[in-house]
């Protein structure tokens, strides 16, 4: 086509449409059932690999290294901030009235972690947190 192009504004159209199902209803899966039922009772449910002993939070049906089925366990390890960031602007560059602080919360020496919004307190890597709301994402307060 290389040689035949027009540039006139009104001879180049665009066509607006969507590519979206109305809605998605995701099941949380076998491990998710254990995790979310635990969350309702303010518990953090992980899963432990019978072969290598790693504990995954949130619970995963299988160990990513040994690839064997995990056993579900309640995790009581201390939650802490593995990393954090503060969102000041959205994608279009509009400044947020109140900056939003996001953190990845890990639990003691378990594997994995859960995303959280930090509602109050001075964030830094390694700081311990208290979970205020048990949902995804968690709402936490820096101790």
């Amino acid at each position: 086509m290389s040689w035949d192009k027009v540039g006139r504004e009104d001879s180049l159209l665009t066509w607006k449409d969507v590519m979206q199902a109305e809605e998605y209803v995701y099941t949380v899966g076998v491990a998710g059932e254990e995790f979310f039922n635990g969350l309702k009772q303010k518990k953090i449910i992980g899963s432990k690999c019978p072969k290598c002993g790693k504990v995954y939070v949130p619970a995963r049906l299988y160990c990513e290294d040994c690839f064997v089925k995990n056993d579900f366990v309640e995790v009581n390890e201390k939650p802490y901030i593995d990393s954090f960031t503060v969102i000041y602007k959205d994608e279009e560059g509009n400044k947020l009235e109140k900056p939003q602080t996001v953190a990845l919360i890990r639990f003691g020496n378990t594997k994995g972690g859960i995303l959280a919004y930090v509602s109050e307190g001075e964030v830094d890597i390694g700081r311990g947190v208290e979970i205020l709301e048990y949902k995804i994402p968690l709402i936490v307060r820096v101790k």
């Binding site: 086509m1 027009v6 159209l13 607006k16 979206q20």
Partner: protein
């Protein structure tokens, strides 16, 4: 072949008994029509079906294309094709795109547009609605019938500017 197949089947009503996450996707686009499809849509507004011809192999593309995929070279010229053709295939749909039942079936098919002849293995074809009733689809009498486009009164430059293709008596 291992013995116990894995997987936990669920019936529709079981969904209420398990944890689920509901999500509304947002995926909106302004597709660039580009050179060829812009010309095609503008043509429809003028009650014209525009194609584009490759002079090397003589093929006429409808909807038009700026390149011939067989010769791999730019196509050469815009060609207005008749809004008439032969029914290649036709079906009657009793379900909508979201699978709901429809009492009155929607008749759609592929129309091989003139200038091509019925010996052409490759031809300018248009996928569109055909105004006919279910009986003519069922007894396959529509195959090979000559049809002509029925244009809507107010056209906006869309494939929908053609209401359907009607059998020419």
């Amino acid at each position: 072949m291992s013995e116990t197949p894995s997987g936990t089947p669920l019936k529709e009503e079981d969904l209420k008994k398990v944890n689920t996450v509901v999500y509304k996707p947002k995926a909106e686009y302004a597709y660039s029509a580009g050179q060829a499809q812009s010309k095609f849509l503008l043509g429809l507004k003028e009650k014209k079906i525009i194609g584009r011809k490759c002079n090397k192999c003589g093929r006429v593309y409808v909807p038009p294309r700026m390149y011939c995929d067989d010769c791999f070279r730019p196509t050469d010229e815009w060609v207005e094709v008749k809004d008439e053709g032969i029914v290649e295939t036709v079906v009657a749909s009793f379900i909508s795109w979201t699978r709901e039942r429809m009492e009155k079936p929607e008749i759609v098919g592929v129309i091989r547009l003139f200038p091509s002849s019925d010996r052409d293995w490759v031809f300018p074809g248009l996928f569109h609605r055909i105004c006919a009733d279910f009986e003519d689809v069922k007894n396959m009498s529509l195959f090979g019938k000559k049809v002509k486009a029925v244009w809507r009164e107010n056209r906006v430059g869309s494939i929908d500017d053609i209401e359907c293709f009607e059998v020419v008596k």
